[in-house]
């Protein structure tokens, strides 16, 4: 889920969004504040955090990244890094470094299959939501006019502009969608795990790994990549001990890059 937005932004605009984790963090805090101040159910606040982050992402692309989009790829990379520092430290100043948790009353509820398999209900709902959001993104990209102009711009910017696509707007909407997906990921994260302003960095790295393993540009890729990473990390830390978790995931990353740079599902488009 975290990686869908990153894959979209990367695949369409060739921008590696280092600030991705920070946007996830903002989504998580949106959910936290809506829940703490107004008692809004975290699952309902999913819509709110997606909307807020979509607008934020749209504005960032429109009034910042679009100004340097045609410079070399490092430039956007470093700009994203600047945005990351800015967001993280703003959050740190506003909300302090405390680790917080959204405590929902039904957080401990379980759902059992047979006698052995027990699934926490909130995890099941989160999983279903991830599937729904992925399908929604798949639909937007493949079946709507908006999706067509996004794909056209990604294939050939000048040609898309010639046939009348508003490129600047399309880029902004794409970035908004990607960041909106990060917001949704943040909401789900806030429901399942504790949150803090500095949580973004690790999530950005994980998103990289997932995007690379799954392959760029396809909406199914991040799902496959996410599953692969989750399962290998869990199995790996079972066999070698949990301190080896990062070693395993980054070794997989480098190996996948060397052996099959397009990822498991990449190269079909």
């Amino acid at each position: 889920m975290m990686a869908i937005g990153m894959s979209l932004i990367w695949g369409v605009m060739d921008i590696i969004n280092i600030a991705h984790g920070s946007f996830i963090m903002l989504g998580a805090f949106t959910t936290y504040w809506l829940f703490t101040l107004f008692g809004i159910d975290p699952f309902l606040s999913l819509l709110a955090s997606m909307t807020v982050l979509f607008i934020l992402g749209y504005a960032v692309q429109r009034y910042l990244i679009n100004f340097v989009i045609r410079a070399s790829a490092f430039i956007t990379l470093i700009l994203a890094f600047g945005i990351e520092i800015f967001i993280n430290n703003l959050a740190l100043v506003m909300w302090t470094a405390d680790v917080r948790k959204v405590k929902v009353p039904y957080g401990a509820a379980n759902f059992s299959i047979g006698n052995y398999i027990t699934i926490p209900t909130i995890r099941l709902i989160a999983f279903i939501l991830v599937i729904i959001i992925s399908i929604a993104f798949f639909y937007i990209l493949n079946k709507t006019n908006l999706g067509r102009s996004i794909r056209a711009t990604s294939q050939d910017l000048d040609a898309a502009r010639l046939v009348g696509v508003d490129v600047a707007r399309t880029y902004s909407v794409t970035f908004g969608l990607g960041v909106g997906a990060a917001g949704a990921a943040g909401t789900l994260w806030a429901i399942l795990f504790p949150i803090s302003p500095m949580m973004g960095g690790v999530l950005t790295l994980k998103s990289f790994v997932v995007v690379i393993i799954g392959g760029l540009g396809s909406m199914l890729g991040p799902l496959i990549g996410g599953l692969t990473l989750g399962v290998t990390e869990a199995l790996g830390s079972n066999w070698f001990g949990s301190t080896y978790e990062n070693l395993i995931s980054f070794t997989i990353l480098v190996l996948v890059l060397i052996i099959r740079p397009k990822g498991i599902l990449g190269g079909t488009d």
């Binding site: 910042l64 340097v68 600047g82 703003l90 301190t243 990062n246 070794t251 990353l253």
Partner: protein, 321 residues
Amino acid sequence: MRKDIRNFLICGFILVVVAIFPFFANNFIIRFATDILMFAIMASAWNIIGGYTGYASFGNVVFFGIGAYITAILMEKAGLNFAVAFLGAGLGSALFAILIGLPVLRLRGHYFAIATLGVAEAMKALVQNLEITEGNSGIYLPVLNLSVKAQYYFFFYMMLGTLVLTLLITYLMLNAKFGYSLIAIREDEDAANSVGINTTYAKTMAFALSGLFTGFAGSIYAFQQAFIKPGPAFTVHTTVKMIVMAVFGGMGKLFGPLLGAFSIEIISEILSNYFLVAHTLFFGIVVILAIVFTPKGIIDLITQRKFGIAYFLQNIREHRI
């Protein structure tokens, strides 16, 4: 030719000024200047692979960490002196760059960036788990047996010497066939290949040089700190700092990274003096503004001698859509 001589004299003059500067400064300033020099080395080393060859390494901190750890292990566990450990650190990092470069340098663009990032993170995790590196608890190094003032001088001149070496080698490289091969690779790798440049060799050597100098910097840093841990030694922030400095100063220019290291360190120092809590926040704003207004680096601003709003607007007009 006359211009060359003039530039050479200017460089010589600046070097002399920097070299006698510690005698007029207090310990705090010398230490600060040593840090600037260290980042100048690393940004210049990054410039060889990222700026000239066009391969944006996002894992150059791995050479820094390896250099630091080789120094620590050679001095503490093998009981060797610093000179041997220093050379070992540089050569070890360069060797690692060759080994890792051969497979990873086949990737291009973002994929190379992410692969190097992955190598650095995997290395950090490995060092955290190995016995010889003492995992997360870190290693202590023997302390330099000199007076405090002499220690400050020692590390300052070590960094200065390494920086001069880095810039000198880069300068010689640029005026040799090797330098032209690198720039050809940056501009169009397939074309470079087809006119008979051994691109694999050139890329790997550029990566090794980058590793060599970063390893030297890591070695001096470890000896200066007298204690190293995997987290700080391999942090991705060091890599990002190198890149920001190189880009801010001017990528693919000899003195760009040096200028970038100098100005970024000064800016962040001033900001942290004025804003205790929020200085990194303002640092983020500085990075954003610098990238939007001067994407070619401040060295371009100086050499073009174009100041004022028109220059900034022209930059924006060139790169916006």
